[in-house]
């Protein structure tokens, strides 16, 4: 039988950057084929080529043994290729139904969709604009869209990045079933345990080239890491005990939207981690702290001073922020690293003197960030948009941490970032902690919270459902709290193993 998809010597360059170099491998019908590699290894570009969005410079893509016309989404769609991209291809203002039938003859669409939803257990509201759905629901719409078009080759680019553990389960069941029906599934992911669980075959890309393409049974997770990184992996970041200093940031009864009466205290040399399934108040918390939205109630104390809404600008300037959306909130994509490097600090010494920018200093600064945080390519003149997600994140972290801020807010700092960069960033965060920074870490990744945090809080529906210091974390209870299954959080807060009076859940009521 012909492979469903076969890449033959596919090469793609973006200006000076080579995204794919002589890529060749095949995925077969009925196979879940994982594509792994670091940020910038060329996975997404390759999938873009397969979906027709990216025109390769050379090479052939065969579908069912026949070369396909490249560079046209329409042609690829016609050959049975469907993509669920990392950033969903959706029209936010249209309903799920409209998004699904867009571009098709929508006769009898509803009935057919109903049947599909039932068959695969893909329950999702169809008559609400998709912008009002959660990311998990939006993903289900995307998958329904592929099934509605009866795609035989399904590309899923980082589909689990936005899902909670339970949602990942049901996604995997669906993928299994689709593969059993004889479809080929290309599964792009950073998460190796997931890859080892779901994939039949694994292809590793490094620096745009295929390193290996083999059956899952022929490789272990450790080997995979070596293949991805190209050598021994960097050692994981080491946490060490440290006595926290004075309180730096403290909220009392902070309420905004679904976030209800949130109390937290972060001290010098302490990392407090806030976890939970996305949409349980994390965004309200960060927005309230940063002054993007005015809290409905409660106070924020910073270094003993109250942060008033009209002073939030000042506050933001004095702290470090690794924002949730690096492309929207962290960088000015069209501008160079030189300019991005002084974002938020451009009106201060040494970057400005008498209102005149000092470009020499700005350049030196960007150079040093690129150097220390190993941003690649090391070209400070390139616009931020030219860098891969992991390198953008390295640069942002570098910019924020070189401020030596007393308080750092890190929101999903390693989301969509590869292993090497993740461990590097973890190491830097711990180093800042050692140097006395107070860090509030918001992350959906429990592993990350357990690696870094002195204390972990789990938010569920805007309330603290679980709270424990590092030593007393009970992974199972934490997992249950995440899903809203925890009975109470009394134990976690009452014991309070941490030396500080730490964050408490809202047990007392009004």
């Amino acid at each position: 039988m012909n492979p469903a998809v076969e890449f033959v010597e596919v090469t793609k360059r973006f200006g000076p950057v080579t995204a794919n170099e002589q890529v060749g491998f095949a995925a077969h019908p009925g196979e879940i084929h994982a594509l792994v590699g670091e940020n910038g290894a060329g996975k997404s570009t390759l999938m873009g080529i397969l979906a027709g969005f990216v025109q390769p410079d050379s090479g052939i893509v065969r579908i069912d043994g026949v070369p396909a016309p490249v560079g046209s989404p329409r042609a690829m769609l016609g050959r049975g290729v469907g993509i669920c991209a990392q950033h969903f291809h959706q029209v936010p203002t249209l309903t799920g139904y409209e998004n699904i039938v867009l571009g098709t003859m929508a006769v009898g669409g509803r009935k057919q969709l109903g049947a599909l939803m039932k068959r695969y257990g893909l329950d999702v509201p169809l008559d609400v604009p998709v912008e009002r759905l959660s990311l998990g629901e939006q993903e289900r719409i995307e998958i329904l869209k592929l099934l509605y078009r009866d795609a035989r080759i399904l590309i899923l680019d980082e589909p689990t990045a936005v899902l909670a553990a339970s949602e990942v389960r049901s996604l995997f069941q669906i993928l299994r079933r689709l593969a059993e029906e004889g479809r080929a599934i290309l599964f792009v992911s950073h998460k190796l345990p997931e890859v080892m669980e779901i994939a039949d075959r694994i292809t590793v890309l490094r620096a745009g080239r295929v390193v290996t393409s083999r059956k899952k049974t022929e490789v272990t997770e450790d080997e995979l890491v070596r293949l991805i990184v190209g050598g021994a992996p960097p050692p994981p970041a080491r946490w060490s005990a440290r006595v926290p200093g004075r309180p730096v940031l403290e909220t009392r009864g902070l309420s905004l939207g679904r976030l209800a009466k949130f109390d937290v205290q972060v001290r010098e040399g302490q990392i407090v981690g806030v976890g939970g399934v996305e949409g349980n108040g994390q965004q309200e918390l960060t927005h309230a702290l940063l002054g993007y939205r005015t809290p409905e109630a409660g106070t924020i104390q910073y270094l003993g001073q109250s942060v008033r809404p009209w002073k939030s600008h000042r506050f933001r300037q004095s702290i470090g922020v690794i924002p949730e959306d690096r492309q929207r909130e962290g960088l000015v994509l069209g501008r160079s690293l030189v300019e991005n490097g002084v974002l938020g600090r451009h009106e201060r010494a040494p970057f400005t003197q008498g209102g005149i920018l000092r470009w020499g200093r700005m350049r030196e600064h960007a150079e040093s960030i690129v150097d220390v945080y190993q941003v690649r390519p090391d070209a400070i003149g390139l616009p931020a948009v030219a860098f891969s997600g992991g390198n953008q994140q390295r640069f942002i972290a570098g910019r924020e941490l070189t401020k030596k801020p007393p308080f750092l807010l890190a929101v999903h700092p390693t989301r969509g970032v590869d292993l090497k960069a993740t461990q590097f960033l973890h190491g830097r965060l711990l180093e800042e902690r050692t140097n006395g920074a107070a860090i509030l870490l918001v992350s959906a990744d429990l592993q990350e919270l357990q690696t870094l945090a002195d204390r972990v809080l789990i938010l569920y529906r805007g309330q603290v459902a679980y709270s424990a210091s590092r030593e007393e974390i009970d992974p199972e209870r934490m997992q249950r709290a995440l899903l809203g299954l925890a009975g109470t959080s009394k134990e976690g807060t009452a014991k309070g193993g941490a030396p500080s009076n730490g964050p408490s859940s809202r047990g007392g009521g009004r």
Binding site: F14, A19, S44, T45, G48, A51, F53, V54, Q55, P73, R74, L77, G78, I83, A85, Q86, H87, F88, H89, Q90, V91, P92, T93, L94, E98, N99, L102, G103, T104, M105, A106, V385, S388, G389
Partner: protein, 301 residues
């Protein structure tokens, strides 16, 4: 008294028609993602085209078609330059407005040897000759066309596959591309429709006045854009906003200026627009990708 009221209603409708047609045109262009301030020039070109064809052929219906085609011609230049040429949409619109002003002026000179107006002509003949102002308006075929266009446009945008795809072109072009439909062609379709509608608006003006005068669009294209925003980029909403603006203009004509300064009434459309833009009367969300040319390979994720 009733006669007076009916007369006023007729006048409001009469004034509102060109605004509404142009505003609906604007909605089609912008829903697809293309800012169209060339509407002012489209109106003017449409008016000139309608006048020239009517005078040349003696057939006002051919004039109507000529007006719409003239509007569409200008719009298609805007579309080509901004969609495929990726030119700045505001600048292209400005340039086309200036071009339209100069070209119609030149046309007046060449065709009618006049610096200010064309020859006079009969407009589209009315159906019957009722004596009431309102009935006479209702008896005008072009008015009926305008009403039909308003409702038809709304249905086209919200009830057809083309409309859905057009809205997708403005709100999520990448998703549209991913379904195999062309973003650029749909956008061009929207811009072209704005040319037909805008041209029809100009035609209405010139048929009402029975001759073309230099610069007769007189800012109506801009007011139409304001109405489009107040109407939240929806054809029916835009038409309603135009009725409001038309009512203000009627008042300004009819009410003695001692009570309310006419300048205030003249400014009303813009004040209402600012209020809406500022979000004081329900928020108006422009199409999410308004003003951005679509590039398939932009952004690697």
């Amino acid at each position: 008294m009733i006669e007076l009221a009916l007369g006023m209603i007729a006048q409001v409708l009469r004034i509102s028609v060109p605004y509404a047609l142009a505003a609906i045109g604007g909605a089609f262009s912008e829903r697809g993602g293309v800012i169209n301030i060339a509407l002012e020039g489209i109106l003017l070109t449409g008016a000139f085209g309608a006048a020239a064809v009517t005078i040349a052929t003696g057939n006002p219906w051919l004039g109507v078609i000529g007006g719409m085609l003239a509007g569409a011609l200008l719009a298609s230049i805007h579309g080509l330059v901004t969609i495929w040429g990726r030119a700045d949409q505001i600048l292209s619109g400005l340039a086309l407005n200036l071009l339209a002003l100069g070209a119609t002026r030149g046309g007046l000179k060449i065709l009618y040897d006049s610096a200010s107006n064309s020859d006079r002509f009969e407009g589209v003949p009315a159906l019957g000759r009722p004596d009431s102002a309102l009935l006479s308006l209702l008896g005008q075929p072009l008015f009926l066309v305008a009403v039909a266009v308003t409702f038809g446009a709304h249905a086209l945008l919200f009830r057809t596959r083309f409309g859905l795809a057009l809205r997708a072109a403005g709100d999520g072009p990448r998703a549209l591309d991913g379904t195999g439909l062309s973003v650029n062609l749909h956008r061009f379709g929207g811009v072209l429709l704005s040319g037909f509608f805008g041209g029809l608006a100009g035609t209405w003006l010139v048929m009402e006045q029975h001759s073309f005068t230099d610069g007769m669009s007189n800012g109506r294209g801009y007011i139409a854009l304001a109405a489009m925003i107040v109407g939240k980029w929806r054809p029916l909403g835009a038409a309603l906003a135009c009725l409001l603006f038309g009512a203000a203009e009627t008042l300004q004509i009819r009410v003695d200026s001692d009570v309310v300064p006419t300048q205030l009434l003249q400014a009303l459309p813009y004040i209402v627009t600012l209020v809406v833009l500022a979000g004081w009367i329900g928020r108006a969300h422009p199409p999410l990708h308004l003003g951005e040319p679509y590039e398939r390979e932009k952004g690697r994720s």
